[in-house]
């Protein structure tokens, strides 16, 4: 595993509200993630793990502190620059799948490529490949309503990896699935991390899922409480 840092959070704070209602979701958290790691972020609700994921995903900006992604100071980017950052380096997988309704799996997977300005034919070929990679080659023309939860999450993963992102962010990706599907999705993430070298940060509250990762980071009260790597 490469020891090159992919990203670094340094003393990051994220404040919500002000005055008496002031709350720090992140209270000076620091975290370094190397290229190729598979990190499980855990912690009770309100511990700051979701906020951490939003900051990593460029959806939320730190109130203070720095977020370095390679040599980019992400915390200093404006709205449009953040969008471009997400477009080029990130992939998202959500608990609720978040596929576009009434839109086929293939079109859903094509969507990030549309925003990258990839031509139609190439886009289609790449989307087909990504769907095949997650085992949905025969579900291209199905809409989310016609797919099971596990299939929808696979399609969502295909959408996240079709752009070959540097970092895949997963927010409780197995939260809505039964145990067999949970296992399948985790195997898929492990394979993507192992075979394609995609760095993965996954928020979960289930220790069984965290066990698939190579490193566990526990949050409490907006700070990193434990951080330990599993022996390979």
């Amino acid at each position: 595993m490469s020891e090159h840092p992919l990203l670094e959070l340094i003393d990051v704070r994220r404040r919500y509200g002000s005055g008496d209602a002031e709350v720090f979701a992140l209270a000076g958290a620091s975290l370094t993630i190397a290229e190729g790691e598979f990190v499980a972020v855990m912690g009770p609700s309100g511990s700051g793990k979701s906020t951490c994921l939003n900051v990593l995903g460029g959806l939320d900006r730190p109130t203070s502190g720095n977020y370095w992604f390679r040599d980019v100071d992400v915390g200093a980017l404006d709205r449009d620059q953040l969008a471009r950052f997400r477009r080029h380096y990130l992939g998202f997988v959500f608990q609720g799948y978040n596929l576009l309704a009434r839109t086929t799996a293939l079109e859903n997977v094509e969507l990030p490529l549309v925003y990258r300005g990839v031509g139609r034919r190439e886009r289609r070929a790449m989307a087909r490949q990504a769907l095949a990679d997650v085992g949905l080659a025969n579900r291209e023309s199905h809409t989310p309503a016609e797919m099971s939860g596990g299939q929808q999450q696979r399609a969502a993963i295909a959408r996240a990896i079709v752009t070959n992102p540097s970092l895949l962010l997963a927010d409780e990706p197995t939260g809505n699935l039964d145990s067999v599907r949970k296992d399948e999705i985790m195997q898929l993430l492990v394979a993507l991390n192992r075979d394609r070298g995609i760095t993965i940060v996954m928020v979960t509250h289930e220790p069984e899922m965290a066990a698939f990762a190579s490193r566990e980071v526990h949050f409490r009260d907006g700070l990193v409480e434990h951080d330990h790597r599993r022996a390979a």
Binding site: L59, A83, R86, R87, L90, F92, N98, L111, Y115, R120
Partner: protein, 402 residues
Amino acid sequence: MIIGSTLVMAVREVRRNTMRSILTGLGIVIGVAAVILMVTLGDAASRKVTADITKLGTNLLIVSPGSERRGPVAVTAPALTISDATAIGREVTAVGQVAPTTNKSALVVFGNLNHNTTVTGSTNAYFAVRSHPVARGREFSDAELQGGASVCVIGDTIRRELFRHQDPVGATLRIERVACTIIGVLTAKGSGTFGGDQDDLIVMPLATVQRRLLGSTDLSAIFVSAVDDASTTRAKTQIEGLLRQRRRIQAQQADDFSVQDMKEITKTLGTVTGVLTGLLAAIAAVSLLVGGIGIMNIMLVSVTERTREIGIRLSIGALGSEVLFQFLVEAVVLSTLGGVIGLVLGLLGSYAACSAFHMPFAVVPWVVVLAVVFSVAVGVAFGYFPARRAAALDPIEALRHE
């Protein structure tokens, strides 16, 4: 983002909610159709007026006694006489033919049928100046004109009313107490601009009407044709100068006669129909505005409904401007679609109305272009606000939205 894929997405979105899209676009459909209908009908009406006046002869000038201004006090101006007509013919270079006329309404009897009509006394020049030639029979001979013979040329309506299928040429009519031989029948012209029947008349030699029907040598009008269409204004000026001199009108005094130019009348009528058309079109345009508000309303609802979708797009890396563009294109697709449907309906409606009113149908190109441009503009104007709202959404909030 590629414009093509945005357009494809927008069309798909519009088709996804077919019923809603139809209802939303209906405002624009009605607005555009109404504007097209008003302008096309107005244009057709003014075309018809122009055509009708052209039928009268565009190089026609009408000289009549009395001022054009009508006040509460009627000022009796001296009548025009045959010597005025002769002077115009002799001295005004821009004049082609001169037809002195006098009119009297009279009861005409043939056998046991009778008809009320207007009897016009004039010369053969009348037929040429009014563009109303004799279809059957002949014009007056010099002897008939000079001697005030009891002969007449009848309009087609008189023929139809009194003679039905018989040939009237050679028959004898009674006009009031005067027996009169028919020597010709005029061509049928149909109804005029103002609904009057142009064929309901009898023409007799001027001297005959003056002596035997009126007992006066006054003229009611002098019809003059300019040498060509281009010289009507010159002819008018010259006639005015001549008559002012003959009637001894001082420099600062107003004319006590009028010279009407058919071209001017055409222009005036054109202005009137133009103003009316503009007014009606403006009222119709208000419904375009209402249609635009309808689109804005639906787009706002749509943004709220699709908040989650917007969140997904933003998280995937869509720029705010791309989301804005997407919603704007949707609004424009809706309004343009409405505009095109309205255009077709408006043109079909105009065509039907034109045939119903016997008016010449013609597409007015500028209003077609304007309607399409306007419907696109309505989409942009009323789609912008909802689109901006979509673009400004916070991705985290949008993703949480149920």
